[in-house]
């Protein structure tokens, strides 16, 4: 496998490597850190997939970070990239009032990532939604199945970019009373 490309801050964004939260995170888990960006005051830290659980536990348990509130998590599809999916996690600390966004890349051929339900219980439904919409599997998730779409839905994962907006024809097979 090719070594990953060095991290490059996208045009229009600032480098977030000197942000106090980034420094703190790098102190604890230097091996997980890939890069950080700062855009409109939002700090995003890119980390390695295999270190996700350790970093999340560190973010929650370290008293100077104390990220106790999972705001949301979602995924974004970048079909042209080498690692196609990006998991986005957003955490907030109610006591210390700071916010961080973690970004983890997931490749298409090995489309799975550790579940963080064991750290924040609220992640359960959000991860199910990501699985439902984008097809990323979560390891050690208590109940990984579709949530918004029906269980028998068989057209794939609708929020992937190669899914047509009008669907794949399943709806046309419905019989509606006329």
């Amino acid at each position: 496998m090719k070594p990953p490309k060095p991290f490059r801050v996208p045009r229009g964004m600032e480098d977030g490597k000197d942000h106090p939260l980034t420094l703190k995170l790098r102190e604890g888990h230097a091996e997980a850190y890939i890069g950080a960006t700062l855009f409109r005051g939002d700090l995003s830290v890119h980390i390695r997939r295999d270190a996700l659980l350790a970093v999340c536990r560190f973010l929650r348990d370290d008293p100077t970070l104390d990220f106790d509130y999972p705001i949301h998590m979602t995924s974004v599809d970048f079909p042209k990239d080498r690692e196609r999916f990006e998991m986005v996690y957003e955490f907030f600390s109610i006591r210390l009032k700071h916010q961080i966004r973690l970004k983890v890349r997931v490749p298409e051929d090995n489309c799975e990532i550790e579940s963080i339900t064991g750290i924040w219980v609220g992640a359960n439904y959000l991860e199910r939604e990501v699985y439902d919409m984008m097809g990323i599997r979560f390891l050690n998730h208590p109940e990984l199945k579709r949530i918004l779409l029906p269980d028998e839905y068989d057209e794939g994962f609708p929020l992937r970019k190669n899914f047509p907006i009008q669907g794949r024809g399943w709806r046309d097979t419905f019989e509606f009373p006329r």
Binding site: G12, F39, R40, I71, V76, D77, E90, R101, G122, L148
Partner: protein, 408 residues
């Protein structure tokens, strides 16, 4: 010598007493149940009347709004936000346009900020009135439903005067609002705010010492502050557990930092506390509205940014540049720089957030809606376990759940 004691669980034990067969009962509640506030189905495992496990089945109202957002321009998505939480459409518009304004770095005129805050708080009062009426109706107190809907009607008439619609309002615009207040609207809001404390006292007199209300809400659906935070609950559901987290105070927007108000907090985290928090919030909201109306400055209602905000109609008809801007804006939308932001807003139900990824151009690359109702449903099993089947309805109601927002 060992004596073999017959086990009465053994199927063939001869000496066993005849036992009544007990087993868990699986019950489908919904999706056509009137008190599920839309179409929610819950598969409940019951032991007698006690809830052992609940499994909400969501998605009956799933419309793929996030996918639709990727194919239309930013302005075209505003009416779609009305249909998320259709009880509080104004607040959804507000949350959405705030996200776009954050990524575009738009500074708004002061009058616009005040107008937005007033309408948002009026919408919060409507949302809480609706909640109070339906929650009490679900529990069995019917009278209060008529009372709250009487007041809600007055406020909806004000909205109709303001933007022509009562529920699907679409009044907020990126970089401003659609229309200014008329003197009649200002008078009517003033009049409503003056009467409102007496109305709240009236609701209180019906519920505050009502024994049925107390026994149905006290110690029902308890959730501790730590659990509520770990589940990601927000809004009155979180503050009922005593957690001080209100985005209007944490990261003030609009005119919330220019007026005086407090965040009501519960202590125990039961349904009664959440009811109390919402009642107090209505009082705080009317305080905010009153102060904002008193301070309401004169000025523009939209930022001057011709490439993003539609120019006024009279200028479109008289000056060519404005017409070009208008044409560009309505044919291809405005450009949003590359990047991603998250912007949370304290809606009536909780934190309504938009996570927006832009790759330039006039359409979002990805728009994720952090809907409070969806996240509240994640805690449903935890909060309903151990209570009676009749309490289920109370627990639905206590989240102030709206399925349009939950299923998106």
């Amino acid at each position: 010598m060992t004596v073999k004691i017959p086990q009465d669980t053994e199927p063939n034990a001869k000496n066993a007493l005849p036992l009544l067969r007990t087993e868990e009962l699986l019950l489908n509640l919904g999706p056509q149940h009137p008190s599920t506030h839309g179409v929610l189905k819950v598969i409940v495992t019951l032991e007698g009347e006690k809830i052992v496990k609940c499994e909400p089945v969501l998605g009956f109202l799933h419309r793929g709004v996030e996918k639709i957002a990727e194919s239309i321009t930013y302005n075209q998505f505003i009416p779609h936000t009305d249909r998320l939480d259709y009880i509080c459409a104004m607040y959804n518009n507000f949350a959405y346009v705030r996200a776009i304004e954050k990524i575009l770095k738009i500074e708004l005129p002061e009058r616009c900020e005040y107008l937005r805050t007033i309408v948002a708080e009026v919408q919060r009062i409507i949302g809480h009135l609706f909640w109070l009426g339906t929650q009490a109706l679900d529990i069995g107190a019917m009278t209060i439903f008529f009372f709250t809907f009487r007041e809600r009607e007055v406020l909806l008439d004000i909205f109709e005067e303001l933007c022509g619609a009562r529920l699907t309002t679409s009044w907020y615009r990126v970089g401003g609002v659609e229309r200014d207040f008329t003197p009649k609207i200002v008078d009517e809001i003033y009049k409503f705010i003056a009467d409102f404390p007496a109305k709240i006292a009236e609701y209180d007199s019906l519920l505050h010492n009502n024994r049925i209300w107390l026994s149905r809400t006290r110690n029902v659906a308890l959730i501790s502050g730590e659990d509520a935070v770990a589940y990601g609950l927000s809004g009155p559901t979180l503050r009922g557990s005593g957690v001080d987290y209100d985005l209007r105070k944490v990261s003030p927007y609009g005119a919330y930092d220019k007026v005086e108000w407090t965040v009501p907090l519960g202590t125990k985290g039961d349904t009664y506390d959440r009811y109390w928090v919402r009642m107090e919030e209505m009082k705080e909201s009317s305080k905010i509205v009153k102060q904002c109306l008193d301070q309401l400055p004169e000025g523009e209602i939209r930022a001057y940014l011709p490439q993003v905000v539609a120019p006024p109609k009279e200028r479109v008809f008289t000056d060519m540049e404005s017409m070009i801007y208008q044409f560009k804006l309505y044919s291809s939308g405005f450009n949003v720089p590359e990047g991603d932001i998250y912007c949370g807003t304290e809606a009536a139900k909780g934190e309504l957030g938009f996570y927006l990824v832009s790759q330039g151009g006039g359409k979002p690359y990805r728009l994720k809606i952090r809907a409070p109702s969806f996240i509240h449903m994640g805690a449903f099993d935890h909060m309903a376990k151990g209570y009676m089947i009749a309490d289920m309805i109370t627990i639905f109601g206590t989240y102030d759940i709206v399925m349009g927002e939950c299923d998106r």
